[in-house]
Symmetry: C2
Subunit: 349 residues, 2 copies
């Protein structure tokens, strides 16, 4: 039968007694119309029969497009990223692209993990990058940009706004949370802030402060967690509680659900109950938040949509569709109310 395990265009051509470039044309939707209808039929039949599979590497080499993009994220194990990735892949899939994924946060040499990943991706000739690594130290990102790579950021912007990005309106998210609590009657509201090295940590803290200002309230009670984790949230909440006699807060807005969860534990330990003593609002609305006790109110972010839109933006840019080039898309978050917020107690214990 066929000499190689998987037949090539040449094999097909030989089999049919036509030239391989004719077969090549028949395989390409864009140029198929140049082939006689009857021949086209025969070619397609033969392709099916012999089990022809296009060789992507050859095509990539020949036309210089790999139909592949690099995706950089810290750790797919972090629950915010799966929906983002799913969105990315669904969008890529529609256009016949594949994602090459790299988890850049590694236990060992976390420093240049991103660098190394980028280089491997460049060897694969990815056509662009989707960067969701959310950290604000972007030395490698800068050099990547300067090398002329196409980049779309996800869930954060670069300092100077040079790069297109798809982000959530973090300021608005915090405003929604604060507005809700103020609407319930809270005046002393604390903030469990995320690390300032992360753009979300910073933006949400600023959003909190601004929202409080808009209501004419002070934003004194702020504790910064040094990571988005339950443990850090618990520690930060302890810090907040130690000053509570001064600040007298009756509600807490956390920069992240994990922090809120940690905060919940610290509150319980301190003998305070949620929401009757202290109301709590999280951020991200990650899965299973409705299963904790009490079910946690949270600011929901459109993770899937972020990924999807970012991938579309990148692909459009690769096609040089004008107008989508330098865009930054800002998605609206939404407050999801559950059982962790209520009217404030008359006076804090």
């Amino acid at each position: 039968m066929s000499r190689s395990p998987v037949p090539t265009l040449q094999d097909l051509a030989l089999h049919l007694g036509v030239h391989k470039s004719t077969v090549s044309r028949a395989m390409d939707a864009e140029r198929r119309h140049l082939v006689a209808a009857e021949l086209l039929q025969r070619i397609e039949a033969a392709a099916r029969e012999l089990g022809y599979r296009p060789n992507h590497a050859a095509s990539a080499l020949s036309r210089g497009r790999s139909k592949t993009v690099g995706v950089l994220l810290p750790d797919i194990t972090n629950p915010v990223f799966p929906p983002i990735l799913r969105g990315i892949e669904d969008a890529l899939d529609e256009e016949g692209y594949f994602a090459l994924l790299a988890n850049t946060s590694r236990p060992d040499n976390s420093v240049d993990a991103a660098q190394v990943a980028v280089e491997r991706m460049q060897a694969q000739r990815v056509e662009g990058f989707l960067v969701a690594t959310a950290t604000r130290d972007d030395a490698w990102l800068d050099s990547l940009r300067q090398s002329g790579a196409r980049i779309v950021l996800i869930n954060r912007t670069d300092g100077r706004g040079h790069l297109p990005a798809v982000i959530s309106d973090d300021m608005l998210g915090m405003r929604l949370a604060v507005d809700h609590l103020v609407g319930l009657g809270h005046k002393k509201i604390a903030h469990l802030a995320g690390p300032e090295t992360l753009s979300t940590g910073l933006a949400r803290r600023l959003g909190f402060e601004q929202a409080m200002r808009e209501h004419g309230l002070g934003a004194k009670a702020i504790a910064c967690a040094d990571a988005y984790s339950v443990e850090s949230g618990e520690i930060a909440m302890h810090a907040l509680l130690s000053k509570r006699s001064k600040t007298q807060f009756t509600a807490v807005v956390a920069a992240n659900d994990l922090l809120a969860l940690g905060g919940l534990q610290a509150l319980k330990l301190a003998g305070l109950s949620v929401p009757s003593d202290v109301s709590v609002v999280g951020h991200n609305d990650m899965q299973l938040l409705d299963q904790v006790n009490p079910p946690l109110s949270s600011v929901r972010i459109q993770h899937y949509e972020m990924g999807f839109r970012a991938a579309r933006l990148l692909i459009d840019a690769l096609r040089e569709r004008p107008g989508s080039q330098e865009a930054t898309v800002v998605l609206r978050p939404q407050l999801v109310l559950r059982a962790s917020t209520t009217v404030p107690i008359s006076s804090p214990t």
Copy 2:
């Protein structure tokens, strides 16, 4: 300077006044020693200077190896898969491989999503497949196998054991749960089973039944959920409760944490408290299980390890390292005790 945006071996060779095959050799760790030390230095310097990046498509075409494997899973959004994927990628990374990912469960044409994905991957000339789609209807898998593709299954085996796989010992997992409950004094134990169409659903149910048999206990109270979801768990638990006057169970083992969570809700609704009225054990030990109320005991599965080992197995097979060829690796689960189990009440209400 260089004529193309990214220089090729040829460009480097010209720049240095040597032949491109010499440069090629210098770039390959395996053949670097064939190049004069001093020349090697110059080549490396020039490569850095001109910003040379190997073109993967070209080398893939030339040597017929894409350094790429396909990963099929239902949905990265399902919390069991991120650690598996992370394990896969860490293992692939070590060997310079990339994963091409496909989420095969799609809202629309879920039937042949896997087929389509496989074909796209074959066009990319993936060297093998890691299949974690856990469903037991494997028509496409069969044909894939027969086409001679290298495959390693994750978290399930095929019916006839034709394919190497990395799985968790589901029977043992259930035994751990049952042993624990029996040790506490429970005799009437119910099972919240998963869908029988999934290998894990079936295996865990069988494991449950066998474990009960070993203790001389009957396994009558079993309700099958039709999906691994909180809602299905709640429904199945309602079914169990409706017969409770007959079965009088004092403990429940769930095939999955989500089912257990749904079960928890149904129990609460029925006015039963966990663990004082009914003990509950989940399965998978997914994240945040320690945050629910009460913190759920669960059978922990080595997800990351499953992914890592499976990827290694595949790579080894690709290298035809003997002995690793047809292996099936069975990993041991572990019971993680939290607050959802205790001694049975003297007589069920």
